[in-house]
């Protein structure tokens, strides 16, 4: 059997080896480099694809282009400083990472009591983050598949959420607002009106988006029955989040291991059984509605009281107190110069991020610096299932399949 040899770097066939058209008894395999700079990879992911015609016979993801050594850097920061690094892991779900880190450190501290207001505020902000993250996913995913209007609509709505974050923390994306012990700052005046205005209008917009795409024949054809992967494969490969729920598994960490008073909220876990790109789309649309429901409940039932735990050795003091009270000034000095100590031990905290299970495994040796911070990121686990999903499929479906996974490369490479 004669094989056409193709140089992988230049994509030019060797001279003299061109085949006559219609030759059927010869296998023709071509290796194609998708990425690292490919618009549909949403970051720097390289997938080496082996093609038989338009069918993918083998796919090898190559990651690490965005590796910045965040876990290593956490070890030289204090517990307090490391919060800012968690923002940069998954840059579309900053507050989720803040929350997971904060919960893990609080678990290590042991005796901290987080007041209800801080817990509810955390839930509200993390759900707003889920909305913002899903909107980026929906906009870019639809753009990849040719529906350009969605992109503008989704980013318009996302901008509203980011403005709310800016109001709270002074930052649109790298918020560092949720810290071990509570919140970084007092919630700003007038946040209720701002959140209410957004959340009252939002559910009708989700309906609008869904109608817009469900009546789009190109969208339906490119998503239905595409990107199938069996449930066994998914569980075996470590897939979590909306992908798993699109395959009929009603596992959501917010329900199964409630954290930060999620058990006090009334919401449903979005589950679909289609197990294709369209089912994942439906799951995320339903999650947008459920998140809006949670935000509304948090807004209406927000408890009064303090927004940090009574732990002056962990939380930076109020600016006014720092200028008038000696103890506050001492605490400020100690936190900034040497940080606070965390009891020796280890803790694993998992939360449900927009992409799946974020887990922070933190190990302390009793000093002011983390001994080890391991981030179990959802994108890393999900991306591992890419070959199982696209091998045997058409190359055009790769774009839809990758979009439906909703990975963030910063989250994969850390």
């Amino acid at each position: 059997m004669k094989e056409l040899k193709v140089h992988t770097d230049t994509m030019v066939a060797e001279p003299g080896e061109r085949l006559a058209p219609g030759t059927s008894d010869v296998t023709r395999r071509m290796t194609l480099n998708m990425g690292p700079q490919h618009p549909s990879t949403h970051g720097v992911l390289r997938v080496v694809i082996e093609l038989d015609g338009e069918t993918i016979t083998k796919a090898v993801p190559d990651i690490g282009f965005l590796h910045t050594g965040i876990e290593k850097e956490c070890e030289v920061k204090t517990w307090h400083q490391a919060v800012t690094l968690t923002d940069r892991v998954d840059y579309l779900a900053n507050l989720s990472n803040n929350l997971c880190y904060a919960l893990a450190v609080e678990k290590l501290m042991g005796d901290l009591e987080i007041p209800p207001k801080a817990q509810w505020m955390r839930v509200m902000l993390v759900e707003l983050q889920r909305i913002a993250s899903h909107l980026v996913w929906l906009g870019t995913h639809a753009l990849d598949l040719g529906a350009m209007t969605m992109f503008f609509y989704c980013f318009r709505e996302r901008e509203d959420v980011l403005r709310i974050f800016e109001m709270f923390s002074g930052q649109r994306m790298m918020t560092s607002y949720i810290r071990p012990g509570g919140l970084a700052l007092e919630p700003p005046r007038g946040w209720q009106q701002r959140v209410r205005k957004f959340i009252d209008a939002f559910p009708s917009k989700v309906d609008e988006y869904e109608n817009l795409l469900n009546t789009n024949p190109i969208w339906m054809q490119r998503t239905k029955g595409v990107g199938f992967i069996s449930v066994e494969n998914m569980l075996d490969l470590g897939v979590t989040g909306p992908m798993l729920r699109g395959a009929g598994i009603a596992w959501d960490i917010r329900k199964s291991e409630p954290y930060s008073s999620y058990d006090k909220f009334d919401f449903d876990v979005a589950v679909r059984t289609g197990n294709d790109v369209y089912a994942r789309f439906q799951v995320r649309m339903e999650e947008l509605r459920q998140s809006a429901r949670i935000v509304k409940q948090a807004l209406e039932g927000m408890p009064e009281g303090p927004w940090t735990a009574n732990a002056p050795h962990m939380m930076l003091p109020d600016r006014e107190k720092m200028k008038t009270q000696m103890e506050a000034l001492i605490y400020h000095f100690k936190i900034v110069t040497e940080g606070y100590r965390v009891p020796a031990g280890e803790a694993y905290q998992a939360i449900e991020s927009p992409r799946g299970e974020i887990g922070y495994y933190v190990v302390s040796d009793g000093t002011a610096h983390p001994w080890r911070v391991f981030m179990r990121t959802p994108s890393f686990g999900n991306l591992q299932s890419l070959p199982a999903m696209i091998e045997g499929a058409l190359i055009a479906d790769t774009i839809a399949a990758m979009g439906s996974m909703d990975f963030v490369l910063g989250d994969v490479d850390r």
Partner: protein
């Protein structure tokens, strides 16, 4: 040997009943179960945990470097069962240069996590289908997450690698 408070724990007791030499110890800390497993028995233990105890998900594998302590590394397996809503942490203490058995026959998802542990800590896994570096460039020297690897000022040792996949 299991300490007495863990004898009534379903998972700990079942794993010890399967192979008492595999479970070297364990404790519950902050409501989290940790079991210390003999490194040479990890594959069999994981197989039992997955097939008989319902831990169908492997959340992650990672490692902790206790340099200059001995044995130097702890390899940590984070297991999760959806049906029982339960998590368990299996730990193996290994010395520098000691090889572990790969658990990819039990969970295929262990593939990338073991590659990451190899890349970052230099712990090798026997019978791994594709033990290459995953985050660092293939031609990199050293293992960045080791405690004796500097955060700043390491020798820049990147070479272009033709053998990338």
């Amino acid at each position: 040997m299991l300490p007495d408070p863990l004898k009534s724990n379903r998972t700990a007791a079942a794993l010890e009943a399967f192979d008492s030499a595999a479970v070297l110890g364990g404790h519950t800390d902050r409501d989290e179960l940790t079991l210390l497993i003999a490194p040479e028995r990890i594959l069999a233990t994981c197989r039992v945990a997955r097939n008989d105890l319902g831990f169908i998900r492997l959340s992650a594998i990672t490692a902790v470097d206790w340099f200059p302590g001995e044995p130097r590394f702890e390899v940590v397996y984070l297991l999760h069962s959806i049906d029982h809503n339960e998590r368990v942490r299996l730990k193996c203490r290994v010395a520098d240069g000691q090889e572990m058995d790969s658990v990819t026959p039990v969970w295929r998802g262990a593939n990338w996590y073991e590659r990451e542990v190899f890349d970052m800590f230099g712990i090798r896994f026997r019978n791994h289908p594709d033990l290459r570096r995953i985050l660092m460039p293939l031609g990199w020297e050293g293992h960045p997450m080791r405690k004796d690897y500097p955060v700043h000022g390491h020798k820049y040792s990147y070479q272009s690698d033709q053998e990338r996949p």
